[in-house]
């Protein structure tokens, strides 16, 4: 599952931050998940709990959602990404590599594929909280 690879990245990054901050225990990790990547949050949560390293063994994971907004570079129109009506293969391709949305999505006003992903692309680590000795 792709979510497992992302979970591994989150855990590695959170551990690196904790070590840098000299935390002896991580208590909370906040993750923001962009809608465009269509991450299955229950799978991500399960993968995080299964793979967490000792430093994060008591960590609580807060997974927040970020709305995905696309902005046309040609006419300036802003619109939300919506996978409804998309075939399964296309939605899955965008799930794996969100940038391939440019191959399937067009501006609803002018039809251009030249848009920017203004928000809600993929996964971001928002904060790592913990205790110092």
């Amino acid at each position: 599952m792709h979510e497992w690879a992302l979970a591994e990245a989150i855990l590695t990054s959170a551990r690196e931050i904790a070590e840098k901050e000299k935390l002896t225990e991580v208590t909370e990790v906040t993750i923001r998940v962009g809608e465009l990547q269509q991450v299955e949050r229950p799978i991500l949560r399960f993968a995080l709990s299964e793979m967490k390293p000792p430093l994060l063994k008591n960590a609580k994971f807060r997974i927040l959602k970020a709305k995905s907004t696309l902005r046309c570079r040609v006419c300036g129109t802003t619109w939300p990404f919506d996978s409804k009506g998309m075939d399964k293969a296309t939605a899955e391709a965008i799930h794996f590599v969100p940038e391939v949305a440019h191959s399937y999505v067009k501006c609803p006003k002018c039809g251009s594929p030249d848009f920017e992903i203004a928000s809600g692309r993929g996964i971001w680590l928002e904060s790592v909280k913990g205790a110092k000795q």
Partner: protein, 248 residues
């Protein structure tokens, strides 16, 4: 806010001994042909090899290999399908024949995403087919993969070589190792590219004569290996790539 993906890239490549980016300052010099043939030749020499097409907007290694559409296998990430003995990854698995109109930041994001979710096996070599130029992909790879090596391709044309010189200057400034330079599509015996390459302090790996059979070999890997590209790459692999064994 931290992008967590970059932290696992070195782990994803930890079982790969050497990473070779086949690159050129100029387009149309035959990078993809050289990258694909290099990968196939290394595999025919008993090496475990991966081929990664990073030319997102103009991918062509899948056509050279005659790769078929496959259902990607997932195992805590994406397992690259095996194509003619190579672990093969390309954006075409996700976009098919559709154009990919992406710009700088999107190129970087797609590159980071694929590097962070692709589960390469244990490889002796990962060959990367680079997009032309010294833009996002080159700078991102230099930033993200510290032990990458470059193999530069040019044609005898002054137009190609002048851009290659700039690329070499940049790579030297960034202290990136360069295996050497291959002169592709050579049509005469002139040795100016060899002389200029050596002036740059680079190893001139060899020249590939222009071979009209190459076009016919597209999609037929065995035939590709019997063309002038195949023959020259066999020599280069022996003398300059396999000769330099490096540890992971």
């Amino acid at each position: 806010m931290v992008d967590p993906r970059t932290s696992v890239i070195s782990e994803r490549l930890s079982r790969t001994s050497r990473i070779i980016a086949v690159s050129s300052g100029k387009g149309g010099v035959g990078k993809s042909m050289v990258a694909t043939t290099l990968a196939l030749t290394l595999a025919r020499n008993g090496c475990k090899v991966g081929l990664f097409d990073l030319d997102f907007t103009g991918p062509s290694t899948h056509i050279i290999l005659g790769a078929q559409k496959v259902q990607l296998k997932e195992e805590k990430g994406i397992i690259p399908p095996i194509v003619h003995g190579l672990e093969y990854m390309s954006l075409v698995y996700f976009v098919g024949d559709n154009p990919v109109p992406i710009r700088g930041a999107d190129v970087s994001n797609a590159l980071i995403e694929l590097l962070s979710v692709t589960q390469w096996g244990t490889l002796d070599f990962l060959v990367i087919d680079m997009p032309p130029g010294i833009g996002d992909a080159v700078l991102d790879l230099v930033r993200l993969i510290k032990r990458i090596e470059f193999l530069i391709v040019t044609t005898p044309s002054l137009l190609a070589f002048e851009t290659v010189k700039k690329q070499v200057e940049l790579l030297c400034e960034l202290k990136m190792p360069i295996i050497g330079l291959v002169e592709n599509m050579k049509m005469d015996k002139a040795n100016c590219v060899r002389v200029e390459t050596e002036k740059l302090g680079l190893r001139y790996l060899g020249s590939i004569p222009f071979d009209p059979q190459v076009e016919d070999s597209i999609g037929r890997e065995t035939k590709l290996l019997s063309t002038a590209i195949g023959k020259t790459l066999r020599e280069i692999v022996k003398s300059a790539v396999l000769a330099e064994k490096r540890e992971r």
